[in-house]
Symmetry: C2
Subunit: 399 residues, 2 copies
């Protein structure tokens, strides 16, 4: 299948081909790369040599040009990459453009335009409703009618590996200090490539014409800051201190075999949210959340109530335009089982039932020094694994 | 005072000198300009000729370089401009760099990074609390402890004059269509120039080191969409379809004479929000809101409970970083009198008491074809008027 030496089941096999931005000590200019096995293809140099007509789309210090280039170029670049890594003829030709992944520094892969965070897991929304509005209907009346979402801070989206400084803030009337309830949210992010015009909604069936691919998101959350500040205008400083994303963007084309029907909608949706005509855009992506190396949760994305196509249609239904680099995230991925919850506030049930880790440590929320790593995989063709890589971050006290 | 022919009381006299981006039919490249009377100084060409050491700071198709250049350069550019327009020696030298304002097309003056909207008027928050939570305390418990705010959509910030397409959206369960309650919010926007480091809060007394100046903001709002969607994560599509800003950014230096003490704080604030050491950063800016040419409100900014310096300190208290081009707005400016309210939902008391205009028309909310224009002025030195220009927009139905 490939002339490269890649172990079977490697998350970055020939069916994944995710895009990122890297540099090396020998060449410190950030540039586009494609992960294959334990190598990175230096994309600008490889394309200049092997497919110069596509050089403009992969130039520059980020993926921005590629994102903006649109689906025909995305398909052409992926087709060329697939040929290079599978056709023995390219062994020598591509060889000079491969960099060992262990030598690379990975950068934020694109310029984040607007960042929107949704709330698309019924289990997550239900768990939070049960905790914070006990005795009431856990889902609010709008939840099954529209994908609830809000804007977050684009300027504090950081690449995996960036240290997370524990935020300080008001935790109640007259109380200010470091957050005592620092949490994670394991999410999937959708990366917009092709912009749209102000005043012109994007229909759900145009999803793959605008969205380039997906990444992993850890939407770090300070629950104590958030709970005091969030009425009536929503989360602000409880979220805006940092949002980490994985360095590798997996193109939608790599997720063809992961497409599954989303859960049945139990309430009819407006026509603009009807994505049935698209074929299913639920995604069978399995998440794994590790705290200091120990698995604490395995949230299944396949159970998310709202799909990425529906989120896109909703986001633009009022005529809001898209820009290249818009990032919208799914909200916390939580499944129905206790060990499928994508946040500590759920895993520890608002802190009442702290998580016991195999090493004997106990956590309701994050301690300084804790490292959280989220990984995910999806099924590929012929039994291949499509890896989404990882998003990781370590909590440090403010210096 | 100036060799230019400028009528006394002109809002763009020698004490204002606001910055914008313009082009002309003869030279369609957008570039920085400074408004003076009914002219625009072509800033890059004037600086290259008269003060070439500052050329880098005013180059490019936007104000981005100037914003990033920081307070010493801001002061140097303003000092040079002041000399040119007041010293007779420059009559001939500057003359060739003046463009009649009527010939200019005005553009979005800077690249909006993140957009944050606050809620800093006690009268506005109280009015909305009375309407939506009758019989309860109108202000929520957090309101006097922190400047409540949230992130809006940066990608749909548009320059004054851009047509506003009436948004469609869900107005309740099973109801989708054009908003029936389209509204305005008259606000002041603060434009950030100098970035800050992630994890490092910006103290209130660093306000003028980071903030370049102010503009007028109309935060168009679809009240029916907003009221259905906004729990629990805040406004989203009810706001994100468009936010208009004035084309002229008035530097903080022009507002020295407008600085006044904000209203007494009736609840003690956390040290990070204490801006008393700064000297006052309340601003005596008088707004005027016109609907189809008829004044419907005169909101006074001087009564705003939270200052721009406090908003900045709050925005970064959790370590969130600033970027050049961040825009944060005050929230609706409303005074204590009925004719000082900065939104139609307040002026018409949730639609129950529609506004009667001098021309006989009646409005609870905006009709298609309506044009809203917000202007504002502040006191300058020696009786001068500092004009903030205007932000205007006309509502059109979706085509």
């Amino acid at each position: 299948m490939t002339w490269l030496d890649i172990p079977a089941g490697h998350p970055f096999g020939v069916a994944t081909l995710p895009y990122g931005v890297f540099s090396t000590p020998a060449d410190p200019h950030p540039r586009a790369g494609v992960a294959i096995g334990d190598w990175i293809i230096d994309l600008p140099s490889a394309v200049r040599r092997l497919e110069p007509s596509l050089a403009g789309a992969v130039a520059g210090p980020s993926l921005d040009a590629l994102l903006a280039a649109g689906p025909r170029v995305w398909a052409a670049v992926r087709a060329a990459l697939t040929t290079w890594v599978t056709d023995e003829v390219y062994r020598d030709l591509l060889g000079g453009h491969l960099v060992p992944a262990r030598d690379a520094i990975l950068h934020l892969p694109f310029t984040v335009a607007d960042y929107v965070d949704f709330y698309a897991s019924e289990q997550h929304a239900t768990n939070l409703g049960r905790m914070f509005r006990p005795g009431q209907e856990p889902l609010l009346p709008n939840w099954k009618h529209l994908p609830v979402g809000y804007h977050g801070r684009a300027g504090t989206v950081v690449v995996s590996g960036t240290e997370i400084v524990r935020p300080s803030g008001q935790r109640g009337a007259g109380v200010f200090g470091p957050s005592q309830r620092l949490d994670i949210e394991a999410e999937l992010g959708f990366v917009v490539g092709v912009p749209s015009r102000l005043g012109a909604p994007v229909a759900a069936d145009r999803f793959a014409d605008h969205v380039f691919g997906v990444c992993l998101v850890n939407d770090w959350s300070a629950r104590d800051i958030q709970s005091w500040e969030y009425v009536p205008l929503g989360p602000f400083l409880g979220k805006s201190f940092a949002t980490s994303i994985s360095p590798w963007i997996v193109p939608l084309a790599a997720l063809d075999h992961a497409r599954v029907a989303p859960p049945p909608r139990t309430v009819p949706v407006q026509p603009y949210l009807d994505d049935a005509a698209l074929g299913p855009w639920g995604l069978d992506i399995g998440f794994e959340v590790r705290l200091n190396g120990q698995v604490i949760s395995r949230p299944p994305f396949a159970g998310m109530y709202w799909t990425g196509a529906q989120m896109l249609a909703h986001l633009t239904a009022n005529g809001a335009s898209l820009r290249t680099g818009d990032l919208y995230a799914s909200g916390t991925v939580s499944g129905p089982e206790p060990d499928q919850r994508g946040s500590l506030i759920e895993l520890s049930w608002n802190g009442d039932d702290p998580v016991k880790l195999p090493d004997g440590s106990v956590r309701a929320f994050l301690a300084d020094g804790d490292e959280v790593t989220i990984t995910a995989t999806a099924p590929g063709p012929d039994g291949a694994v499509i890896g989404l890589g990882e998003v990781t971050g370590r909590v440090v006290p403010r210096g």
